[in-house]
Amino acid sequence: MSEYPNEPVSDLPTPPCEFTDDEGRQIELRQASDDVEALVEMYLDFDPEDRAQGIPPTKEADIREWLAVVTSDEGLNVIAWHGNSAVGHVMLVADQEDGYELAIFVLQAYQGASIGTELLRTALGGAAESGVERVWLSVERWNRPAISLYRKIGFETSGDDHFEKMMKLRLDR
């Protein structure tokens, strides 16, 4: 794997926080704690066409098994709430090399309203606060909207791994 950017991304918001999205909805961003049931609901509602590289799984049992892995102690999870519903989720999961893999999912009805940007920045702020320095993700090469969102936040392309583009970011911890 190639190197992380030299310049860290700083001045990120940290959870908990709230904001009004572009559709006028009040959205709260909080670090997850015992919120697995709300996440299961969210992923059962998830539009299959927004899946990426085999996740999230589609069957409830598989969703639960997957959430048990991504919400284990080694990681960081931030949820976007609209009222009592989880509508977005960022997860960071430790890899074997002192870095964290990141993924974000936002329910279709809540896309295109700046929630992804705010959720991503806030989750990275939370990660920096808890000492995370290196974050990476992989994104399908043809997923241009996602790639431009990641670029805007500060991720830099660090090579193509066949179907996926690899992007990395350094945090100011």
Binding site: A52, Q53, G54, I55, W66, V69, V70, G75, M91, V93, A94, D95, Q96, E101, L102, A103, S138, D161, H162, F163, E164
Partner: protein, 136 residues
């Protein structure tokens, strides 16, 4: 009196027809799972199964081939070893020997569970003339 036409019985979709299947295997959990699935179908449908073993890392080819033979004792399979360029070798072999399908395993998962496809998947998916099945 009308009965069920014989043709309908012969071509009923519920009865799988046998195929010549070429399965590309690495010595990984995913690879062995793909093998088990293909072997199970082969038993039910009478598929003719050829297992082509290859390695991307340092694993020994011979050891992988032995593991495959041990695992497929109950099915009649040919095991061949692919030394290098597994993607193009699989595609070539499927064309030359008129296989109906190439089966590959889904590869490894990233820490948070994303499917990672590698150069073998990419080459086979883009260049094979046969159906390609990904077991994951």
């Amino acid at each position: 009196m009308s009965g069920i036409p014989v043709a309908a019985l012969l071509y009923s979709p519920a009865v799988p027809t046998c195929m010549r299947v070429l399965i590309g295997i690495e010595d990984t959990d995913g690879g062995m799972q793909a093998l088990d699935e293909a072997a199970q179908r082969a038993r039910q449908a009478g598929d003719e199964l050829t297992v082509a073993v290859y390695t991307v890392g340092d694993d020994s080819l011979a050891a992988t081939a032995t593991a495959v033979r041990d695992r497929t004792e109950t099915v009649d399979v040919d095991v061949v070893e692919i030394e290098d360029n597994p993607g193009s070798k699989l595609v070539e072999m499927a064309e030359r020997e008129e296989y109906d399908q190439i089966v590959l395993s889904g590869g490894e998962r990233s820490p948070l569970g994303k499917l990672k496809l590698d150069s073998v998947h990419e080459f086979v998916l883009l260049n094979a003339q046969t159906t390609v099945k990904l077991v994951r």
